[in-house]
Structure formats: C-alpha cells, structure tokens
Subunit: 367 residues, 4 copies
C-alpha cells in the first residue's frame, strides 16, 4: 500500500514534482543516537546533482537539502544525532524555467510515462515530467545517505558503491574503483572514458540518447540479512532497483549468466574462516552475488541494473495527442542524453536503503 513509500522498518516516503516548489522525503524508523548532519547528506546529493557536466541535464539546481526534523544537539552533546523521530528532508526547486510546455502538455512522448500517467489518473502535472521526473530521485539519494550512516553504526565500515559498466553499446575492459570518481561517467576504466566521451558527445549532438548498465557492490554486510521467502534480500533489491526511473532489468551476482552455468560451475565452494574473514566461512567464488536463499552470505553483495535510453529525443517520433489525434513529437529542452550516469548514486542509495532496512528487520526478528 506504498504508492510513495519504500522499506519496512527503515521507511522512506518521498514527495514532490519536477516543477513544484520543493521535493523531499520523510525517513521514518532511523534508530536514535546516530550522528547526522546536513553535510552527510549533501555530499551524496552533490554526486547526483544536475548541471555538473555537459553530459547531464543543464537544469541548474543546487539541490541544497534542509533537515526539518528528527535530529538534535544541545550544548552538552558532542554532535548532532538522530532522535528516533522522523527525519524530514526538504529540497527547494530553483530552476523551474518558465517555458512553453505545449509539446508534452498535449502530446505523449513515446517511451515515456506521459501516456500511462494520463491513462491512470486522468490529470497530470506535465511540467518537466511532474512526479515521474528523475528529480524525485534526489529524495532517494538523501535517504540513502542516512541509510549509510545506519549501516556504519551497526557494522563498522560498510561501503556501497556503483559504477557504469556499459554506456549504450560501449563497454569497459578493466574495473578500478579508484577511477570511478575521476570522470563524468562513474566509469571504472580510464581507457574507456575518452571513447565514451566521444560516443555520448555524438549522441548528444544529434539529439539522440543511450542506455547504460550500472553495477553496485556493497562490502561489509554480515551474513544473515534478509529472509527466505518474501522478504528476500534479493527480492527487495530487485524491487528497489526496478523502481528507479527507466530501469528495465535487474541481476544479482552472475544474474542471467548464471542460467548458462552448470551446477558445478555455479556453486560457490566454502572453506573454513580465516583471520581475514574474522572466522566467518570463506567462499572460493561469488557467483551468487552474496545472497543465497534470500539471505546474505557475508560476501560482497553484487547487483546490476539496466537503464533504457532517455525517451526525450530530437528525432521526430510518431505519437498521438491527449485528444487522440495522430501527430509526431520531438522533445527539446534540458535532458540527460544518458540517464544511466546519474542513476549511479541513485542505485547506491536504493541499495543502502534496502540493506539498512534488512539490518533493522533482522535485529528485530532475530536479535
């Protein structure tokens, strides 16, 4: 019954349209006593922010977040901490450019939520895509920053990070986490960066767009999170990642490739724990992506998701108007030629939220 909420014990409710006065979220269920400042959240928001390169939308939004509730510090306390009450976060919209929305007001963009939204509700705030705009994902990133703090408070060092492993038809040859922050694409292969740059530049110039595949990895998550049937950690991750705008596929571990392996190949063999694994069992491979039977194994948790190409393009496409007349459409304006790029921090945030939720649920059910 969660049209605009996700999570169970760590529960995030988002609100806001692309061109309304503000967007934000209410994060409910954050444990008390966790250090939290605006800077903790802003840091992640800045990685998702529009207008940071020519490869993302040119909309100018500082995405400055304000904490309205749920934290406290007085003169006796060393730092500002969460209180256990709901944390409301607000981001004012700044650059709702006054423009003519005639095209998308009256016509449906093929491949976009325009038509389905109208078919469902019979009314829509079409300005900038309204609620279906990727701007909503800023709220997710903000919530994800809080989720990270919870994971760290519970388990020590936990890392949840992502990278673009393909951009459109272009792949990578090596994977180096250290490179991801060094380019505009969250690309882990420095040699791919100039190739991707040229590729995306070319698409952007002709008003086309491309998709992407994002890989996410969480390190430091202990064994035991999740549940075997419908609160499966992989089921929750799949639902969460598929809920990101434009995502059309989700994989855990080897994913679709696993279906081509034999049982022998796919089995992640086990050895007894070592000092490096803190006595926990050691696995000789990780085809499973750190999840077996819906429950974490203690290995890295690995997921991938596929983002379709942006539907707002300059090539004319056949469509119909709100009144049912046939026409064609091109979409001018400010758009990401590859929404997969900014989906990286969004994916990380969703993974962090799912893991924090699973951690609290586990503590509740098992202790």
């Amino acid at each position: 019954m969660s049209f605009n909420s996700f999570g169970h014990m760590f529960r995030v409710t988002t609100f806001g349209e692309s061109h309304g006065p503000a967007l934000g979220c209410v994060v409910d269920g954050c444990p008390p006593g966790i250090p939290l400042t605006v800077a903790d959240i802003q840091k992640d928001l800045d990685r998702r922010r529009p207008g940071t390169s020519k490869f993302v939308t040119q909309r100018r939004e500082p995405d400055t977040v304000q904490i309205l509730s749920g934290v406290f510090q007085d003169e006796r306390m060393k730092q500002q901490v969460t209180t256990g009450t709901p944390i409301a976060l607000l981001i004012q919209n700044q650059d709702q450019r006054s423009k003519d929305y005639g095209e998308i007001r009256d016509k449906f963009r093929p491949g976009h939520a325009d038509y389905t939204y109208w078919a469902k509700y019979g009314v829509r705030d079409y300005r900038g895509g309204g609620r279906s705009s990727a701007r909503e994902t800023a709220s997710r990133v903000a919530a994800g920053a809080i989720a990270r703090k919870i994971l760290t408070a519970l388990y020590g060092k936990v890392t949840v990070r992502g990278a673009l492993v393909t951009m459109g038809t272009q792949g990578i040859e090596r994977f180096d986490w250290a490179q991801v922050a060094q380019n505009d694409f969250f690309c882990p292969d420095p040699k791919a960066v100039p190739v991707w740059t040229k590729y995306l530049e070319s698409l952007r110039k002709k008003g086309s767009s491309c998709g992407a595949i994002v890989q996410l990895v969480a390190e430091g998550i202990p064994a035991g999170l999740g549940a075997p049937i419908y609160a499966k950690l992989d089921g929750e991750l799949a639902g969460a990642l598929m809920s990101i705008n434009a995502v059309k596929g989700v994989e855990i571990g080897d994913g679709f490739e696993a279906s081509f392996l034999s049982g022998e190949e796919n089995a992640d063999e086990m050895r007894k724990g070592t000092k490096a694994t803190k006595g926990k069992p050691r696995f000789l491979s990780n085809h499973a992506g750190g999840i077996l039977g819906g429950i974490s194994t203690g290995q890295d948790i690995v997921a991938r998701f596929a983002v379709k190409p942006t539907s707002s393009i300059l090539t004319p496409r056949k469509t119909i108007t709100v009144d049912g007349a046939e026409t064609s459409i091109i979409t001018k304006g400010r758009h990401d030629p590859c929404v997969g790029i900014r989906a990286v921090p969004v994916g990380e945030a969703m993974m962090a939220c799912v893991l924090a939720d699973a951690a609290l649920l586990h503590r509740g059910q098992v202790g």
Copy 2:
C-alpha cells in the same frame, strides 16, 4: 514487514516446510462473489506438480488442495463463490520419505540456502530443505489460480502464461504458445524439444544440473495499473519474480537489451486506437514490455527471469560442516536437474498475483 506474505490488497501468506505435515497459504483480500472451486486451483497445481516426468523430482506428491474457508454455496446459489473472507488453502505432504539427512544436516550445500539459513536463525529444519524448498511454491501457484479468477472477473479474458526460452545453454528458434503444453519443458519450439531432452538427460545422468530463462506474458491487462514511484508495476513484478527460488535476474520488455538501443529505437511509437484496440491507443512496438513509468500501457506485459542451476548435484564440492570443519559434499536424492522447468507455472502465478493486486489497488485509489 512481510517475511512470508506478499501483495497489498490481494495478499498471500504462505506456510509450510518440505517435510512437515502440510503446507498452504491464506489468500486475503479476494473480492466477494467470484466463482471458485477446488478444480480451478488444482488445474494449476497439476502443472507444477513433482513426479510428472523423469526431468523433475521423483518425489510423489499429488498436491491435492483443500479449501478451508472463504467460499460458500447454498441451495439457492448457482455456484460456489468467494465471500470476501480469507481463503485458506491446505496441501498435505505425502511423500516425506524417511531417509538419512546426515549430509545436509551437517554440511552446507554450496549455492544453496543451507548456510545462510543457519547463519540467520541458528536453527533449521533441514529435512528436504525445510522452508527454503521449492515445495513452498505450490502455495504460490494455488494463490495464483485465485488471482487469475479475479483478473477475469474484472477485465474479461486475461491470459497469463509462460514458457522456457532457454534451458541451460540451449535456446529456441521459434515461439509458438500452442506448443508449450505439448512437452515436458514448457518449451515453445517443437524442434528444440528433442535437443533439450538429450541435453537434460545427459546432465541428469552425470548428476549435474542447469539453469533456465523463463518468459512470461500477460494479455488483456488495461492501461493504468501500477503507480509511478514505489508501487510501480515493474518494481512489484521484479520483487515477486526475484522471490522465486533460484531466480537471479529479472527483465521487463527488452530488459538489458534496451540499454544497448538508442532512444529512437527504443521508443514505442503511438497511433490512434482502432476497433481492434477498442479505441485505446495503438503502439507500433513493445520494447517497454507493456509498462511505462511503472504503469501498464494496455499492451502485453512481458517479463523474463533467469533461474540458476540446481545446487543439489552429484559432483563433489568443497564445503564446511555446521561445526566449521572443511569437507566435501555430494547431494543424492530427489531433485530437479533443471528447476527452471517447474518455475514456469510459479512465475505465471506470481505475475497473476501482482496483476490482481495492482488491479484492486487501482480500483481503490482511482475508482
């Protein structure tokens, strides 16, 4: 907070272990007045039943379902109908063969939930896999049969069906729904059947196993089901399909392939409705798999999921015991060499349940 439930308004709670006295489910939220008999449910259960060919587990379970509540007929009524109260379904286990569980009692099968279950709960009913056994999916299929009745009651003819499109490394060349019921594999290509038979027979004989990819299609679903953010129809489908045992990947429409397309290629262009579409807009393609922005378009809804190879195999694999000692394991006994086969009716059931739930939610929110 739904460890063993799924759905929101159409809500299914399952229970039961592989070797306990019985398994079943409670289906809550079914509207009143819907015709429902045991035969409606048994029909689907029989498609998932074990022991029907040499390619599935040899466990002998008739999987006879009993309706304990939620339906009624008196002498004045033409037929038995649902009453709006919870429908409890019970399936007695018959063939809990008395055997030595020593191997899986004391050792963890690599690639199986054995270890994670134990890591989480510290105690487990290891007999036949306990709760993590695929026997649990019988309850899902039973619930799915009720979901189909709801969809038909609401929208007229709705078809939700599935097929195996790859078995291990073997694919198909053509897709003919009429063939799916004609072989042991839910295979839509009659030419592939003998190839698959030989392939699986060979794997079975050497005690190996393989994975599979299942495709699901729902026809007859109107535009408007789902919601744009976290009750997305595709997000719900992804979570539901990923919750099926051994599933490692889920796609909607073109899925991962969509990420390789350009915006022009991926756009499903629109034309005005015809008599064939009952006046509803017509789409020139269906890359989106019938879902845009989390809401159904009125086209066929298309999903695929990848099943990993069965982890219970005869090739020895390195593992550890419950006490942490290193050892190796082979798993004898009754297992499906390709669990993907029987996953077809399970996938259909999950899709039907998600759609019925979305239909009731839509009726509640929008009318």
Copy 3:
C-alpha cells in the same frame, strides 16, 4: 491493508468460518529458538473453549490445535523450538450441527453483523455467523500463547492476565487474582460468584443476555516499548481490543475516569529506583496504566474493555428480511448469554500479541 492480519513484526493472519471445515492462523515473525509445543498453545485454548459450563455456548468443540509448520526438533536438540519460519496452526471444527439456518439465513439479527456483512459483500456464509462468529477468536488465543513465549524469552517472567470486573449490571467488591481461575466467570471476587451465577442463570432462562467489562494487566514489561505517535502502545492496544467481537469501549489506566481528575491528581509521581524495581524509577501511582506518550513506563500495563450483550436472544425483535420485508426474529440455538466471559482469554491474547509485536519492533528500531 490488513483485513485479516494484525501486528507488524509479530504478525498474525487468521482464517476460517464457524461452520467450515477448520479455522486457524499463520503466525509470522516469531523469532527462532523459542521453545514451543502444542501443549503451550492448548493450555490457553482450553480456557476459551466452548461447552465448559452451562454459562457458555453448548457447542461441543475440543478445539484441538495442530502445529503445521515453523517448529523443529531433531535427536540432537533438547526440545522443540521455533525456527523463524511461519507457524501455521490448525483447529478442525467438529460440531457444525446440521440444522435449519432459515432464521438467520433470511433475516438480520438486530445488533449483529448479519446486516452489515451482507451490505458489504452481497454474499455471506451465514451458518453460525460465518466469519463473524466468535469462533475466530480461538485463532487469536492460539497466537497469543506464542506471544507469551516470546515475551518470556525476551524479558523473563511476564504475566498477562485478565478478569471480568462487571457482568451486566453486577460488579465486584474486591480483586483477587487467585480467585479468577476458581469459577466459571473469570471473576476475581469470590463473594460475587454466587450473585453472578444467579443473575446469569436468570438471564439465560428467559433467553436474554448481558454484557461485561474485562480488565487486563501485563506485569514484567520494561519501559520503552511503543512509539510516540502512531505506533503508540496504547493505540495498538485499543485497536487490538476493539477488534474483539462485541467490544464497544477500551480504556488504558484510569481511562474515562482520568478525564475527571485534576492534573495534580492524575500525575504519577516518580522516585528513584530501588532494589525491588531493579534500579528503574519507582512511580507512586499508576493512573496512566503503564503507558505515557505511547511508550511503556515499566509499570503494570492496565487496560479495560467493554463487551456488549449477545445479540442472539429469545425475545422477539423487529427486523427485516434479506429481501427487505419487515418481520421479527428470535434466535434459538447455542449461544453465550454473556460473551464477555470467554472474551477474557481472548483479551489476554490480544494484549500479549500487541506486547510481543512492540518488543520486536523496539529491538529492531532501538536495539
């Protein structure tokens, strides 16, 4: 969205009609490793069972419970324990007497759910009241027995008990818990027992009925359970107790009386802890009933609920038929002249369930 479920982390889903083959429940979220046998549950069911005295319905139901899942013991384990999987409980109906339901099939009993059920669903299993029968409360009592085991596992000795403090117009003068199990009425005042006996006998003979007020007390619950706004411990209790058949009012602590006190009188003053309170603050009174701001104080938790008189009576009452014609009705058959009596173990069970749920939620959110 919980038509037939209650609780959040400790979640109970019940099913079954008065005259169907069986009733029962699925208890989801019980932590693993908690000792649980059929006897633990049967003990509580026997206190609610019909047919135990002439003052309750003469329907003969042994209410023998069967555990279908969720527990396990092997030869290495000292005792049967919960496994963390859903615990399904089944109670077969035995005495669905073959009789003429003509009266309640065609007419609505004033004060009963007959009319509203029909108005809502348009179809109903009227036999014995169907789903609205008090037989459904057997499932609650069974679930409550599991809740008690959880509370004991978490906090050591926890007692949740109830007593009838008024029966119809008859009250008590003293309150002695030791007396409650010594009579047919859960009456805490031995002097009231003969008075109540005569009173109820008289009502029963003339085919009338009466209501009752039940008091519940939980001892041994630590401070901190609940939450300040909508997961309030008192809000949850109120919802749970009001969900019991025939309940029309709920109070916490002084309840309605508190509204007549001044702030000075109502304040439960505090002193520092003693050995008897294990160092926890000591309160000089308990007007609040052990809950302040929705959170437990560590004192006894005290609630009361009012049960209306049974609506199935022998005095003719004006009513209408299913077809809208005016008529009158008397209800013969097997009924409790005072349903409040058997509501005592039901109330205890609901309180235990709410507390177990709050305990798990607290552990999840705060640790």
Copy 4:
C-alpha cells in the same frame, strides 16, 4: 511498521518537533481529480490553532499551511485538483520562544512522555516536548481536511464533527450542534458555557488543569465500510483516536454503557427503508454507534474519547532528574489548561481520515 504513519490506502505520514523549523505531513493515496486548495485545509487548521483564547496555549502560531506537491491547475482547468501523487503539507514554526528549558531538560514531568521517551531513545529533543508535543496534531488536522474532501467526492454531503461533552467534572444538559462554534470550548450547551468558563478560569489561575470527553459524529457514511476482523472500522477508529495525545479511553456508540444493557435493550431494531433513508433499512435506535461487526450500518457513526488533564502544571510534583536524583517539578510556560478543547478538531480529523481510508479500501476490495 508505521511509527509515524497511519492509514492504509489513505496514508498520512507526519513529521516535526515543537521547536524545530517546521512540521508537516505527506498524504499519500488521495485519489486524483479532487478539488483542493490551501483554503480548504487552512479552515480546519484555524479551528485547532493555539492562541485563540485565554483558555488555550498562548504560543503565537499562525499555522499557515503550504502545499508543496500533489495538486495541479493549468489555464485550461477550472480549479486546482489533486493529481494522485503525494500531497506534502508544510507548516513553519514561528514562535519557538527562546527560553530556559532547564526544568524539562533535566527533570521528567510526571504524567508526561518525558520519561518514557528518554527511556526508549536515550536522547530527546526536549524543547517544548519535542515530537510528543501537541503541535504534531496540526499535521493531522491538515490531513483530515483532505480526507473530508475525499468523503464528499465519494458520497456527497458527509459531515464529521465533534464537541466537548464534559470538561473536567462539568457536564452538559443539552446537545445543540449549532452552539459548538459559538464558544471557546466546542461546547454544545450554551448554558454550560459560563459554568465551564468560570471552572476553567479557576483551574488556570491556580496552575491546575483538567481533562475532557469529546464526542464525534459522522453523518452521511453509507453501509459497508470496514471489515469484519482486523480492519474493523471501530478497531481502526479506536486506534486512531487513542493515538491522539493524552487520550486514555475510546468508546463507540453506547460504549461502556452498552455492557450494562440487556440484549433486548441493546438491539437496534430494523424496519424497511423509506424515502428519507433512500431505500436503505431504517434503524429504530443507534446503540451500536453506526458500526456492527466492524462494518458501518449506514447510520451516524458515533465515537467518544477521554482526554486526561494536562500534565504541565504549577503544583509541585515529586519527580527525578535525568541522572536519577529525586527532586520536584513545576511546569511554567505556555500550556493548555484543558488539552481536550483543541482535541476536538483533531478528533474530527482522525475520524475523517479513518473513514476516507475505509472508503478507498472498500472500493478496492468490493468495487
């Protein structure tokens, strides 16, 4: 799992502390196309606003609400309507008076949430009561205004209104809805007003406080809302009303009085419908308060709740400090001597929210 949310399909999540920058709520699940302006909400907020008479807190808060999302109007639309997306409402705090919080920072007010909040979370924003302040109820009133619009859109004229039927030890002799808006107490008896004025003035002067009983009535609700077991309309109402600050008891219809009646007296006899009842059955009385078996009867829905006296008083009370030392406390500052007064619009709002939620659920489940 709803620490700070209530409702199922019409779901309200509130946030904010008494002395934080702002408070507000997100209203999820409001159907699309419902006319909604700030004025619709402000009207109700103004009835709950502090500082309107000397009998309520002197804190100066205009409680001006801002709609951040979920509504839309363009030049082609006659009026602003809801879009089906979440409606976020924001109320800035204005009068967070800079003062010394030493007393409640270090000491617990007996009868207040101070201690339990601290016992649960180990940290708290004590300024003005923080999250446990009655300021949170402004968000509920705002959400309730939207709920009213939904009820009207669905059923035509629906009225949900409340009145104070006792103030402390003072009652009323007649009940005239027309009088309720004519005095500072929501008192329905004009003769009681001067008596109550004198009574409350006297309490206020000596720094004492009193409780109250509030009666709520909803007119225009059709038969069929609710569900027979755990989504009972009365169970939901009880939980919702008990969740209001300082409430200690809830009744439906005759409530506790019903337990003193005989079955004959309590039965609400039925006659066939008339033009006045639009053909729906007519009841000769309404002991049930418009709810039987958890489902509405089509009559007026009647509930009452008891509010305890304000715990912030000037009479010294024994207490302890945060560090466990014994001391005493008096609470200066701005407080309502009778919080029951401003609880009237809050109670109305909660009832409206419960009814709107039940209406949408009913539409979803039954059609």
